[in-house]
Amino acid sequence: MTDNTPSDNSDYQGAATVSQWHRISPIAVIYYALRFVRGFVGNMAYLLPALLVGYNQIQKNPQAALPLSIAILALIIVSSILSYWFFQYRLSNDHLEIRSGVFSKKYLNLPFNRIQNVEVSHPWYYRPFGYATLKLDSAGSAQQEANIAALEKHFAEQLRREIVRHKASDNRQSATTTTNEQGLAGEQSASLEGEVVLNRRSISDIVLHGISNNRVWIVLGALAPFIDNLTKGIPEYLQAKGIDIDQIVSSAHMPWWQLTLAVITLVIIVMAIMSLISVIGAIITFYDFSLSKADSKYIRRSGLFSRHEITMPHSRMQMVTCQQDWLDKLFKRINIKFEQMNANAANQGQPSLSEGTNKIIVPSVTAEQRDFLVADAYPQSQLPAINFQPIQRRYLLRLYLLLALIAIPLLTLLAVADKTMPLLITSLLSVFLSVVIFMRYRRWGIATDNHYIYVRKGCFGVDYHIFEAYKLQQVKIKQSIWQKRHQLASVQFVLASGSVTVPYIKEELAKTIADFALFEVERQPRSWM
């Protein structure tokens, strides 16, 4: 049962031997139990009718509560033990085989060289015992994902290295080897031991990140099943305290400035609470953050409760994004993202507490640190210095016309009807929107040198996207008939990590850049992974 002792594990290093099936550590029962509970809570919406019926029944005969809870507990324990018992893995010939499933059996054979990402995480409940979870992604879909729930920390680490090392040597054998890697070949013997820490984030950095980047939704997302209950309680609570919202809002006695002040105070309080939650979310995600590099792989480690470790080979990197929201701009901080292939595009834009495996985020770095990291990822890139080609003024014209078409009739209507408050709000909103449009126009720009393509965009903040032209998957040139008349076009670059669009540039420029990118892709076969 406990045969995943390290002595055993040397088995797989003699790659040719076919070892026997192993079970993971029994501690995995906790993992499965928690997963069961999480699945249960996650599907609360579907189970709600059953729960309500059950709740009513229990209220009618309370003596049933004890046996029921025992039954549920037993169900969780039995299912976890069964999941644990039927999960077996085997390492042979640089393959990882997994047998799992209680009723419907599942067999997964994952060759090491098909594994895209290896993530070692240390959930909080494993830490006292020194165990870790290993998550393996293959290039395919989410179903091709393997979770080994409990391995001894040391062994998980060893296995990760083995897989990553295998991958690296595989890359070297292939025709696409570049001297980029050869430069590091000397370090290969030292393997992953020669790890260099590129960046660490202190608590203050993370707090800053929490304030400037809203992580509220992530925390709220994790709490989603309970939110309904929380918000339901609030009106009753307020009423019990003798506060009647209706009365406050509709009160005619209150002078308008008092009302305004009250609203502003409320907004500030809400903002403060949100930032606090956001900071907590950031700390949970990024606590003790370190980004290191070993053998041309980036390794990110972070997390307060569960330690997450993400490894990304340099060759997998599709794009580097330097993101700076308006608050980041105030703090003079930048978030860096190393993006790689996005196998399950559905998860895009839905950050989680673990921040997913498809990108490495370095939160709130300073400008010098950004330059250092970007130079490390993309040597010879000229981000701070390069001249961006702005987009054409017609972009403004179109949006302003649209805005005018909506706003002017609305404003006149409100003015005629003599509604001061809505008139004020509408005009403020229009002004705000036109500022937003103008800022977006100002930010958008594109630049190339002979290897990289740079895109700048944003609104009050500014984002820089840099990618190697040869990593392009597809290019689109879009042109409306009005754009055509003025020789303008939009260009969209599709990468494995997502796409970037630049609107309203000169048709000539769009086509030149598209041609350049296509030429880079096509002139010689190079792997994009």
């Binding site: 060289n113 595989d170 890359n171 292939s174 025709a175 696409t176 570049t178 001297t179 980029n180 060759s315 292939m341 996005n342 595009a345 040597p379 010879q380 002979n450 290897h451 392009l472 998957q473 597809q474 290019v475 689109k476 040139i477 879009k478 042109q479 409306s480 008939i481 055509k484 599709v494 990468l495 494995a496 997502g498 796409s499 086509k511 598209a514 041609d515 296509l518 030429f519 892709v521 096509e522 010689q524 076969p525 190079r526 792997s527 994009w528 992974m529």
Partner: protein
Amino acid sequence: MNTDFSNNQLPVDVLPSIQSINFTAISPMHIKWTRILGCLLSFVFPSLLLIVLVLPDTWLPEKVSNILLFVFAILSLIFLFTFIYQWFAEPIKAYALREQDLSYQSGLLFRKVITQPITRIQHVELKRGPLDRRNELAKLQVFSAGGAMHTFEIPGLELKTAQSIRQFILSHKGGNNDG
């Protein structure tokens, strides 16, 4: 950096350009049948509308018939506009196969040209609906690692053309996607 990364000056006029692509229109058969189908479809809902109108009042409760009239009217309009749009947009669809890439052009008001390097194609699929089978046509679906959003489909290819394009893509040298 890479030593195999050279940066010699290239004669600009030698470089192939998107501008100089000669697009091939899709099969006229496909255009014709899309129009016929669009025409038929744009008759379906107006006739349903008519049926509801001429039905004796007692057959349907007034509420139901009102809702039906509304829904059918909207659908009629949608299908009519689709038909008109397709009439003009279908002939614009065109493709071009070059040594290293496949391009596809579409769109009436918003012209879109997608260029897909063949080395970056993950897989291709031929799809043939009943009409395609009748007319010896096929659709070619092209998948890249850019994700489902950026999969595109070239409709109305003659079966033989579609098959040879597929063959060309599959046997294309220089595909090296698995590092």
